[in-house]
Symmetry: C2
Subunit: 301 residues, 2 copies
């Protein structure tokens, strides 16, 4: 049985996941030939990147650049996280056309967003600007459940996630977002844009009707306002990242009661929101070491 370098059995690690990355999926990476610094011809594996145009019924919404897995989750999660779809909207179908590179989310009746958009387009003639506004609107009054988070879980999650075979380890230049429960990683999504990875998680949650009030979202990306807003829109009370913060991301996290932990590398991390809900139940000295080969390089950038 394959062993991960620290002796942890890969198979038992993968058993913890409901959805793990699939680096073997030939549709997601491509071998490209180049020449390295020493002048040697070399082949490297790079991630695919495809346009996917998302429709809400007859309404064209956006063209996302994605690796192309889980287009249905991506479309559904994007529309939810942007506040364009609500619980009251009954989804009748999600139609993906690989050839046309389109995915259409269909609802029983026209959504309030479509109505608003038609009004909007009659005035300013553009929908782009509304997207951001809708996201903020959707946040009004949001208060996330107050749940305890243990530092031992965070260390265990980072340890497992960094050792999980992924497109990142295979080809780099990709972000990962993982939905977790306590010290168990459940759903690991990757994409060229970190927002896509989060939206695919949101789509999975929506499709499976999973209760996220006790979940933790771990991401390789920065804790920007967009990441914080999407996490809050999903109702997930804890957001953890290897990366840094933006001031507005921190501000929003504190407003909605999101536990926000960043710069988590090896034994180190910093909590900028929800400190009172964080239980430090393990001495960082006893936390698992981060192996150099698993450190994410700036190809995360």
């Amino acid at each position: 049985m394959t062993k991960v370098d620290d002796g942890l059995e890969l198979a038992s690690l993968l058993d913890e996941y409901l959805i793990a990355p699939n680096p073997e999926n030939a549709r997601l990476t491509r071998a490209v030939e180049g020449v390295d610094h020493s002048g040697m011809v070399t082949q490297i594996s790079v991630v695919e990147e495809r346009p996917l145009t998302i429709y809400l019924n007859r309404q064209e919404i956006v063209t996302a650049m994605t690796i192309g897995d889980y287009p249905d989750y991506l479309a559904l999660g994007f529309l939810r996280n942007q506040g364009m779809l609500h619980d009251s909207d009954v989804i009748t179908a999600i139609d993906y056309d690989e050839e046309l590179e389109t995915v259409v989310v269909r609802t029983e009746v026209e959504t309030s967003y479509e109505e608003k958009l038609q009004k909007k387009t009659r005035t300013s003639g553009c929908a782009v600007g509304t997207v951001f506004g809708d996201m903020m609107e959707g946040l009004e009054g949001v208060r996330l459940p107050e749940v305890e988070v243990r530092s031992s879980w965070l260390y265990a999650l980072a340890h497992k996630i960094n050792r999980t075979p992924s497109l990142y380890l295979e080809a780099g230049a990709i972000h990962g977002t993982i939905l977790c429960q306590q010290d168990r990683p459940l759903v690991y999504m990757e994409d060229v844009g970190r927002h896509n990875a989060v939206d695919k998680i949101a789509g999975w949650i929506q499709s499976t009707g999973t209760d996220v009030s006790d979940k933790i979202l771990y991401t390789t990306g920065r804790l920007t306002s967009e990441m914080v807003i999407k996490t809050a829109m999903m109702g997930i009370p804890v957001l953890v990242s290897r990366s840094g913060f933006t001031a507005w991301g921190v501000e929003i996290a504190r407003e909605v009661g999101l536990t926000l932990i960043g710069r988590m590398r090896g034994k180190r991390f910093i909590c900028l929101s929800g400190e009172d809900r964080l239980l430090r139940d393990i001495d960082p000295k006893n936390a698992p070491e981060e192996h150099k080969k698993h450190r994410r390089k700036s190809s995360d950038g």
Copy 2:
């Protein structure tokens, strides 16, 4: 005179720039209090992130999330890189309103993009989807000038850029894009979104009428299709990054004749497009070492 750790004089390094980062600008970072892994209360500096709504005349185009410096360059560069503004469009004013967080680019006559948008919005009612299409349209027939690039320049640039005081070194979680000529860094822009940093460079080029046919663009971000397209739209023949590639980014670079070099860290790099224009004039063994403290962490992510 301040010394950078390798003895290179900071002042003489900064002298090379026309625009260098301004980590002292209090408007761009904020001190935030948090608690670290050991339970110690600590203050860290995080980058600001503000919405900026860009208008083309009376047409609302997009709300960008930005650190907020150079809003005029950002708006102008964005519209150029998206193919919404052309050489034929005469710009009469760029009005930034800090309070309203808006910037309006005004042209002498209505642009073809505005006309198209009004037609478009009468049909599909949304502009978002067109943005991507316009970018690809703008690329048709683009062939970049065939210029030589020397590996010694690339090593020198990385060496200088990594040592330049920046918001990244101050607060992390930010991307940098630098317009360079041979081994000299000229304009160093940073932003929370790497596309914003590139658009600010594009706006500067446009405003100053700088000839870029002999320039090199260095970025900390990944070489996605968006980065490659923007670089090509700007007419810059060489794009270099510390980070990795996407398959489509490589494909487009090869189509338009863009020299594409990535994964450049320390002595290592890989050229995936334009190898015949790359002169390896220095033995990587003699290239400057990359100091650990200057390595970009995954807070680039």
